[in-house]
Symmetry: D2
Subunit: 147 residues, 4 copies
């Protein structure tokens, strides 16, 4: 377990709802939010200097081990959503990210939740986080030029 | 709250993993399981005489309000999975279904979890379950001929 | 180019439309049909004795190289669709499958189209079809017991 | 049929490949490109002053009627892709968009294709394009500040 600085552990990533992500209720399908959270995790790492695609090429995978989600208000096609993503906990072989997905136009909380990610290698065996990984997870977000 | 008979509240629905449902780790993407659970709920209702598409046409929606999932073992392309689905709780305006997703070939538990579904109408307003809905939810699975 | 027997080259695979496959128009999203065709190809091969998952494990991939689709009538949530799949052409390094997706309840043609699939290995290099692959593609559908 | 100015009819929209959009071959699944093209069409319209979500709310839908795609080179997780989108043809009741999807890092053409979109109303009946729609389609892209 490493200490987490709440201020530096938070990153907000904006996504826009795609037409294909809606369902016949006219709102975003509940499974689509898992994709938004995944996008946000990848950006969370990128802003701390880690290209997750490089980890994946090296056989370092943060596989989703647990998900919990509460749906508070529906989002709709073309809404811009801010996925506020925080590192919540670091254990020996897993990390937890917490999320609040907020409609950018009016601040409505649409969905909140958490995912626990286990570090597994290319053989799908559970591994302990390396010191390099822990160091990366403890970084603050860097200033990013452009989008 | 209505009493639930565990024996009659359980239905098993088989799905086969599609190629499109895998990801670059070579295993089923974690969001795909939400689709399997959705398929299983629709079949759970069908085997109790309810065509969910008819409910949806009438503006009766069981919208996903909460999700919790634990991933125990990976499933792979072309695996046959049994989605064991049980009614877990019935409240005034929502129901909970519990799931165990098991690989048919060897009985491995791949994923387990629960979804709470809120009854909302076509205006997305929360509604109390009607006596007819509660009666349907309390039914046992009927014998189905064919697949 | 091998000769194709139209009678033996045809297989019909039934799928049921999932809730997640619809969009806010209340109909099946156009991209969902590609998933149905993929499911049908895998079953087309299975009924000729080929488990595509085994080919994939061996690094034999039939990657989609071309798609053409015409959407004739919308399909809806919970519709049962018959994906009529025929081998259309076999070339040195690719095959073409033709599809008609028909609503089972009333025979309405929803979508028709074709996909060309290129044989590539695990390095994504184009390969010539082996005699064993061509022999498998020329087989007639076997009688399948059960679903 | 209206005349189309090739220079003003072109818009490039960048997307980044999501993890969920890959498959077990380690590359972008072929159906994912339809989602990218859909995103690009929505942005194509936005840069000409049309919010497609507003059209959809009004029952104005540009439904996909035909798709043709050729896959030239695989794209991978985390690749940035430029979806170059051009209005190709305007008919009485439909329009065609043409696409080239290019990997931003090295200019590799990954996929090219076209979609024909039919104008249908909320009853799914085919309609003739209105003068207002034709005027909007003939607009040049406006300068957009920010992303």
């Amino acid at each position: 377990v490493i200490p987490i600085d709440p201020a530096s552990s938070r990153t907000s990533v904006r996504v826009r709802v795609r037409f294909a992500e809606t369902d016949l209720m006219g709102i975003v399908h509940h499974a689509s939010y898992l994709a938004y959270m995944e996008v946000a995790r990848v950006e969370w790492l990128r802003r701390r200097g880690v290209t997750y695609a490089t980890w994946a090429d090296q056989g370092i995978h943060l596989a989703v081990a647990e998900v919990s989600l509460k749906y508070r208000a529906p989002a709709r096609f073309d809404d811009e959503l801010d996925v506020e993503t925080s590192l919540g906990e670091v254990r020996a072989a897993s990390v937890r990210f917490d999320y609040r997905i907020v409609r950018a136009a009016d601040g409505t909380l649409c969905t909140e939740g958490a995912t626990r990610l286990a570090y597994i290698d290319h053989t799908l065996s559970l591994r302990r986080l390396s010191p390099e990984m822990i160091e990366a997870l403890a970084r603050a977000e860097r200033v990013i030029a452009g989008s």
